[in-house]
């Protein structure tokens, strides 16, 4: 069965392009526009990975990661944070909130898959 990935980003173009690359490589993709929407889309269903943007209206990426980790079912799900921040402290903050890893924007298709490979087989 295909791996299922939830993409959370308020930017339409980024959401669509990531989703295009992933679908092309055989992943099932569900899209959410912000943290609140992401929690709705999770809805107890089985996901293999969550990729979320950092800055979003309603609920940002860090907050989303914290919320997801509180849910027993998603305690161990890999979560990647998309960010333009290059400061190491910001990444530690993400890590402490429960993110598995991060990916710096802008990124190429290759580095997207390289990072996914680190957390998902």
């Amino acid at each position: 069965m295909n791996k299922k990935i939830l993409i959370v980003d308020d930017s339409y173009s980024i959401r669509e392009s990531i989703s295009f690359f992933l679908t092309e490589s055989g992943f099932d993709v569900v899209k959410a526009i912000d943290g609140e929407d992401a929690l709705k889309k999770l809805d107890g269903k089985k996901y293999d990975l969550i990729i979320t943007d950092l800055h979003m209206p309603n609920m940002n990426g860090i907050e989303l990661i914290k919320q997801v980790r509180k849910l027993e079912q998603y305690k161990r799900i890999p979560m990647l944070l998309l960010t333009t921040e290059t400061l190491h402290e910001k990444k530690l903050e993400a890590k402490n909130a429960g993110a598995t890893g991060w990916l710096n924007k802008p990124f190429e298709k290759d580095s997207l898959f390289k990072v996914i490979k680190k957390v998902l087989r």
Binding site: Y12, S13, K75, P78, L87, K95, G98, G101, K118
Partner: protein, 703 residues
């Protein structure tokens, strides 16, 4: 990517409208933190997406604006009406950048605006923004560095994950795998810290890894593997040699020994490295010499073993010694081994009858040995499919050039091995198939472009094991086969009746009937009518099978199924009218027990078994049953082309590995047997060639 640019353009235009709205509201309520946040987020979005889609200037500008509004929302800078109106003016500039990001005058203006933003930031707060822009450059350098170095080196890596590493979704095994993918490695899992079963906390990670890695990549790439875990876990990466120390077997086993030792410390590893390096230096001279020598030998051992193979395995060939053996000596070895296996099978039978335990043990030992002997002997005749691929590559290159077509030829699984005799025989038919693909299948570049296909066509050859056979699959993305043209021609040539109803696959397989060619225009490459029928005959003579499939406009696919070796078959030993026969297991699909009545009462030789209708051959009857009184009958379904055909037989005896012997001259013209084999009790059993058997009897209109 262009499509996404368009998406971004639309999205950015929306964002700019939103931005303008927010700015206007801000003019009235400069303290509204929600509005400031909104502006910040819009800048952030523009920056992030812009950089993704190549709008570098736009992204740089919005980056600075984002910094500005970040400082405003944290209270470092107070939002004045000047800043708001300034932001509005940049708004227009951004929409121009959106139309043309690299326009020179716009770029100049961008720099001016950026300067202005920076002056607001510096005058408004003491912190400078240099820090962050520096950071971006560092990452740039990093990616550049990783490309430059290509020298091999060996590293000692110790990875002790934080106990809680599993809690954020990290799976440390993936990281170890990623490391192993970087080059050659020896991985040792340390489990000494796992507590007793009663005390295990299953959410804690108590294991660690010690790894020796030889790789060409930069150390920074090794560091990158641990990017997400480097802060919490203990990671030690030490370069222990500037050479690839895992390239030969000796050093590998040395490292394995050291790592498996309890004291697998860096010191111990380093001292092992020292002794290995001196050894390697001594060896390198000898290695160079043997490398040259073995390349010469390997080129000669099989005539098709052209230089490509030895180039491909150059590093390994240094360690392998090859000996040139005449093919006929190998053949007689195989014959003798076959005799040995047969004789030994009789011995096992005899030993069982004597009921002497010693005798049984002895014969079983001999059986064990002779099986190993047989496997090695057969293995000696196997050569990789790769050996014939070189010829194909040349063919594709020359032919596509001649015909003015562009063709990419790709292969997969060419390390799959096949009997040398099969490779020699099969190579010409495959050449013919590829020739057909290029000549009739792949369209001219212009036509392909018109049909929205990439200019260059693809031909993909894939070899793989499937049960006891090897499958070679040749697929192209050309124009496919014109079904109607095939049908028309087949009817014209009286190969089929206009009233015959054929499935698509059956139609395509008409191509392989003797005297068939579809190309309107006979070129000098293919299409002389001695085409696919010869291909089919050659393959069937090897006890193989060939199938054609095609999708109009999308390409054709030809699948060849071949036995692993010619001289031994895994078979099903059965009796028909008290005589023994062997049915090759490769074609057997399923075995059913049926009652005699239903076979005898069947109409048109169709039998319904478990809800499926099977056409069948009543072998006891066809083979001239003397006594049709045997109670027991079985129904074996075998694959025939795309269908399942039932064979009625009497008794099932066992699975049997038959050493195939040619049948004598008297039966030479009898096609339905692939050969004969000698059973354990010395009796002879005929081996059925199910395809030809079914062909033979269906031509007699018995089905």
């Amino acid at each position: 990517m262009e499509d996404f640019k368009k998406l971004f353009f639309d999205e950015a235009s929306d964002l700019l409208i939103k931005l303008e709205e927010s700015l206007m509201h801000l003019e009235d309520n400069p303290d509204d933190i929600e509005l400031i946040n909104e502006v910040f987020r819009i800048m952030h979005s523009l920056k992030g997406s812009g950089s993704m889609f190549g709008f570098d200037n736009l992204s740089k500008l919005t980056h600075d604006l984002e910094t500005l509004y970040d400082k405003i929302r944290t209270g470092d800078i107070k939002l004045t009406s000047d800043i708001i109106s300034f932001t509005m003016s940049t708004n227009d500039h951004i929409s121009q950048l959106l139309k043309n990001d690299s326009d020179e005058s716009l770029v100049l203006r961008t720099d001016e605006i950026k300067k202005h933003i920076n002056s607001i930031i510096t005058s408004g707060s003491t912190e400078s923004i240099d820090e962050e822009s520096n950071n971006t450059e560092i990452t740039d350098n990093k990616s550049r560095n990783s490309v430059s170095n290509s020298n091999e080196a060996t590293y000692f890596i110790r990875f002790i994950p934080n106990e809680d590493i599993l809690s954020d979704g990290t799976n440390p095994i993936y990281l170890v795998d990623e490391l192993a993918d970087l080059g050659e490695s020896i991985v040792r899992l340390n489990i000494d810290n796992i507590p007793d079963f009663e005390e295990i906390e299953y959410e804690k990670c108590k294991v660690s890894w010690t790894i020796i890695l030889s790789t060409e990549v930069d150390k920074s790439e090794i560091d990158d593997v641990f990017l997400f875990v480097e802060d919490d876990s203990k990671i030690e990466i030490v370069k222990i040699s500037e050479k690839n120390l895992l390239s030969n077997f000796n050093s590998k086993s040395t490292f394995e020994f050291v790592l498996n030792n309890k004291e697998n410390t860096l010191e111990n590893v380093l001292s092992a490295v020292k002794s290995l390096e001196t050894m390697l230096d001594d060896r390198s001279v000898i290695d160079e010499l043997t490398a040259v020598e073995s390349r010469v030998v390997s080129e000669n051992i099989v005539d098709e073993f052209e230089s490509v193979t030895s180039v491909g395995t150059k590093t390994e060939s240094a360690g392998i010694e090859t000996v040139k053996v005449a093919a006929n000596k190998l053949d007689s070895l195989i014959n003798l081994v076959s005799e040995l296996v047969t004789t030994q099978a009789r011995l096992v039978n005899m030993a069982a009858e004597t009921r002497s335990t010693e005798m049984v043990i002895l014969s079983e030992d001999l059986q064990h040995l002779s099986r190993q002997f047989r496997d090695i002997a057969f293995d000696m005749r196997l050569i990789p499919v790769q050996t014939m691929v070189i010829k194909f590559k040349r063919l594709v290159r020359d032919l596509s050039k001649n015909l003015g077509k562009k063709v990419n030829f790709t292969t997969e699984g060419t390390e799959t091995e096949l009997d040398k005799n099969i490779i020699t025989t099969i190579s010409d038919p495959i050449m013919h198939i590829i020739r057909n693909s290029i000549d009739h299948g792949i369209e001219l570049p212009e036509t392909r472009l018109e049909n929205n296909k990439p200019e260059a066509g693809n031909i993909h050859l894939k070899a793989y094991h499937s049960g006891t056979s090897i499958v070679i699959n040749i697929k192209d993305d050309g124009n496919g086969i014109d079904k109607n043209a095939v049908l028309k021609k087949a009817i014209d040539r009286n190969l089929i009746l206009p009233t015959d109803e054929l499935s698509d696959k059956e139609i395509y397989n008409l191509l392989m009937l003797p005297g068939f060619t579809t190309s309107e225009l006979v070129t000098d490459v293919s299409g002389r009518g001695v085409g696919m029928d010869v291909v089919r005959k050659t393959i069937e003579d090897l006890r193989g099978e060939v199938m054609i499939d095609s999708k109009p406009g999308q390409g054709s696919e030809i699948t060849i199924r071949l036995p692993l070796t010619l001289s031994i078959i895994d078979g099903l030993l059965v009796t028909i009218n008290n005589d023994s026969f062997v049915i090759p297991l490769s074609s057997v699909k399923q075995i059913y027990k049926v009652d005699k009545e239903s076979v005898n009462n069947s109409i048109n030789n169709i039998l319904n078994v478990e809800g499926v209708q099977f056409p069948f051959l009543n072998l006891p009857k066809l083979f001239g049953s003397i006594s049709n009184e045997t109670d027991e009958i079985h129904f074996v379904t075998v694959s025939y082309k795309d269908k399942s055909i039932g064979l009625v037989i009497n008794k099932l005896i066992s699975e049997y590995q038959a050493v195939l012997k040619p049948i004598g001259k008297i039966l030479k013209n009898n096609e339905i047997f692939a050969g004969a084999t000698i059973l354990g009790d010395g009796k002879v059993a005929l081996v059925l060639d199910t395809n030809k058997l079914i062909d033979h009897y269906s031509n007699q209109k018995l089905m």
